[in-house]
Amino acid sequence: MLSDPTFLIEQILNSLQFSMLLFLLAIGLSVVFGMMDYLNLSHGTIYMLSAYLAYSIAGISGSYWLALLCAPVAAALIGVSLYYLLLQRVTQHGHLAQVLLTVGVIYFGTEMLRILYGDLPKGVPVPAALEGVARVLGVAYPKYRLFIISVGLVTMGVLYVVLERTRLGALVRAGVDDRVTAETMGIDIAKVFAGVFAIGAYLAGLAGVIAAPVFGVYTGMDVSVIILVLIVVVIGGLGSLAGAIVGSFLIGFADTFGKILLPEFAMVMIYLVMALALVFRPSGLMPARRFMAQG
Amino acid sequence: MTIALETRDLGKSFGSLVATRNVTLAFEAGLRHAIIGPNGAGKTTFFNLLAGNLRPDGGRVLLGDRDVTNLGLAQRARLGIARSFQRNNVFMDLTVLENLVFARAVREKRTAVFWRSLRSYGDLREGAEAIAEKVGLTGDLDTVARSLSYGGQRQLEVGLALACDPKVLLLDEPTAGMSPEETARMRDLIRQLPGSLTMVIIEHDMDLVMDIADRITVLDYGSVLTQGTPTEIRASELVRERYLGGAAANPAGAS
């Protein structure tokens, strides 16, 4: 079936679209981990929360665009409050306390959403302007999914410029690569980190809103996606934009094509990609300098 | 003369920085060799290549007549290259005795035992106590490494390397960060090690180097500047100009 060009192009576009969602989630997780050595499993909960917010905002106002504008901002605010109120209390206590704390946040957040919204999955309609299909290389493909791909590509471009070409980006990279030196040079890592955390939460929120019309809104959507995102981060390497991009593409394509080629064993494909990557690169394909393997 | 350890055309770069440049050196058995050079001369990288912490980009490392270039740190240690580290690198939660008993157990390949307690091995304990005596820690056998003085931890650091029964002992700045009294103690300790042991020492303390070394190698920008006995090195114009003057101005620097 892959010999059918229409089908192939469709699947490539599907892979791209999924890769972009993974990327939006992975970059925040990866940089937060890279800078603070913080394993934040509740990153996906921000994604889920934002999807529910989008459902409410779009439902009440009738405007998807208002949801797209507001929900990620709310997600960023909630993410940062969460960080200051709770998460930062175990920064020094190691990964295990972080896992326990953030699993607690996942349980708490999921249950809150259940209380507020009930157990049934919700839908967010595709905005009118993006209904229907467009032709890509002669193949009819839903406009909304092309929109997702565009949002991802634009985000990658913006992040690239910010990280590589601006002072803020230099601060972030310094914070990832050598926190101690950066601090002795007078950089307030805590402030830089708060900014990074906010941006990470914003992007997770953005992913939640744009994913909602395609994948639906339900409790548990956070956990199913966070596992793939963790794999992306592992494959790509910690703390680097390039790593998050490469990892997202690999997993996005492996997942989509795995489901076609080996419908029963799509996860096997992902696992193979991860195992291969780690055999040859135990620190991931393109980690930030600090995480490169010695020797 | 027997060569204990030698390198041929050894090279290592990190990106555009060439840390070790075509180093060909032979360390004669039974002598104390010192490696000196200004900060950033590539001493520690060279050491890491000798011990197996790093793999070279090119060239070879030979232990006697055996090529060990492709062997890792642990394999080289088993063949008789033992090292100490510039920063204290001991088992902080164990006592001095436990540190040394464990090192002896690794050396004697007794760690794959599941059914009896490590404490119950009298011979390992004796071996460990003998080493503790050599490094002057007999009075601290039951002190947890974390609570030892800095100098005491440095002594234990050397003790762990000695516990490997090495043919070649690599000491990376054994007196780094030590007080004058502690340095004097370390000098005596190194002097009293058996003459059959081949030693390679990186050291910044010139008095110590001139005092204990039989041969000195000067590294500069990753390559060998010159070699000789302490008298020859002291007399060398080249070394005086490139290094000894600078070292006097910056005696406490670390590479």
């Binding site: 704390l101 946040v105 | 464990f102």
Partner: protein, 313 residues
């Protein structure tokens, strides 16, 4: 410092006594919970033993699942006796752990956490879809060991609970001895300073792989008893929530203390039962309790108690 080891054993003996008293005196439902806690405790011991060498897995339920599915599959589908199936389950756990470990133990820290999570999710998604084991529906009718030859009926709730409590105690004692053996001390040395172990000539990879393999065997053993307890095989056994549960049990109890895993397992099982029978949205409370423990007792309960006795392990 002997007092810390002594304290650990006192806590262990106290838990054992309480569990056995409960098995004999308490109600059927309490006996059932004790059995559940004892099996989770065996599972927690496997995870905490692995932590001796500094590795923390977030995919241990995958290995538990291997044991559970090997036992359930061999007894229900292939008609083997429970005894044979138990041996095969443990063997399966050892083999799968060794094969997975070859890749996994090359990584450490949070990387290891993520890699093991991904591997376990692999196994989960396989048994979730595969119709051989009835996929997501699960499969009932898993038998218990037949010990009628020695006059023990494991289908009796009290007897089964006593049996698994004693198994748990036996594994705990075996591990207490194992961690002071040369092998166990090597694992501890690797946890403290893996680089130094290499420099002394020890193979960090080989010892970590051995620890992961042994841990996998114990986890699979726990899995075989988990399905005997419920008589039911379900993919959830191997899911991330189960990996999270056991990790949380170990963290609450105190990682690196062995007995902490047992205490944590008991607390988790009874806490969940208490909350779920008294409150509607009880995950709200469970989540809040996790957060409080993480912030207030980051080294866990036993870790905190031992810390009061001094800094030495």
């Amino acid at each position: 410092m002997a007092s810390r080891v002594f304290l650990r054993r006192v806590i262990g003996a106290g838990l054992l006594a309480a569990a056995l008293a409960g098995c004999m005196l308490a109600s059927y439902f309490t006996q059932d919970l004790i059995a559940e806690a004892a099996i989770l405790a065996v599972f927690a011991l496997s995870l905490d033993f692995l932590a001796t060498c500094g590795l923390v897995s977030f995919g241990h339920a995958g290995l538990l699942g291997v044991g559970a599915y090997a036992f359930g599959g061999l007894t229900v589908l292939a008609g083997y006796s429970p005894g044979t199936a138990l041996a095969a389950a443990v063997l399966g756990g050892l083999i799968v752990a060794m094969a997975a470990g070859v890749f996994a133990v090359r990584t450490t820290g949070a990387f290891f956490i993520m890699v093991t999570l991904a591997m376990a999710e692999m196994f989960f998604s396989w048994v979730f879809r595969d119709r051989t084991f009835k996929g997501a529906d699960g499969m009932g009718g898993v038998p218990r060991l037949d010990l009628s030859a020695i006059g023990v009926d494991l289908n009796d709730a009290s007897t089964f609970a006593i049996f698994v409590v004693l198994l748990c105690a036996a594994i705990w004692l075996a591990l207490e001895f194992l961690i002071v053996s040369p092998f166990g001390r090597t694992l501890d040395a690797i946890r403290q300073n893996a680089g130094r172990v290499s420099a002394l000539g020890g193979s960090v990879f080989a010892y970590r792989l051995a620890a992961f393999t042994i841990s996998g065997g114990i986890a699979a053993f726990a899995g075989a008893f988990k399905v005997q307890h419920t008589n039911f095989l379900s993919p959830d056994l191997a899911g991330w929530l189960a990996s999270g549960d056991v990790l949380i049990a170990v963290v609450i109890g105190g990682i690196g203390t062995l007995v902490g895993g047992i205490l944590g397992a008991a607390i988790l099982v009874f806490l969940k039962d208490f909350l779920s029978s008294h409150f509607g949205h009880w995950y709200l409370f469970l989540g809040a309790i996790f957060m409080m423990v993480a912030i207030g007792l980051p080294r866990g309960i036993v870790g905190w108690v031992l810390e009061l006795r001094g800094k030495r392990p």
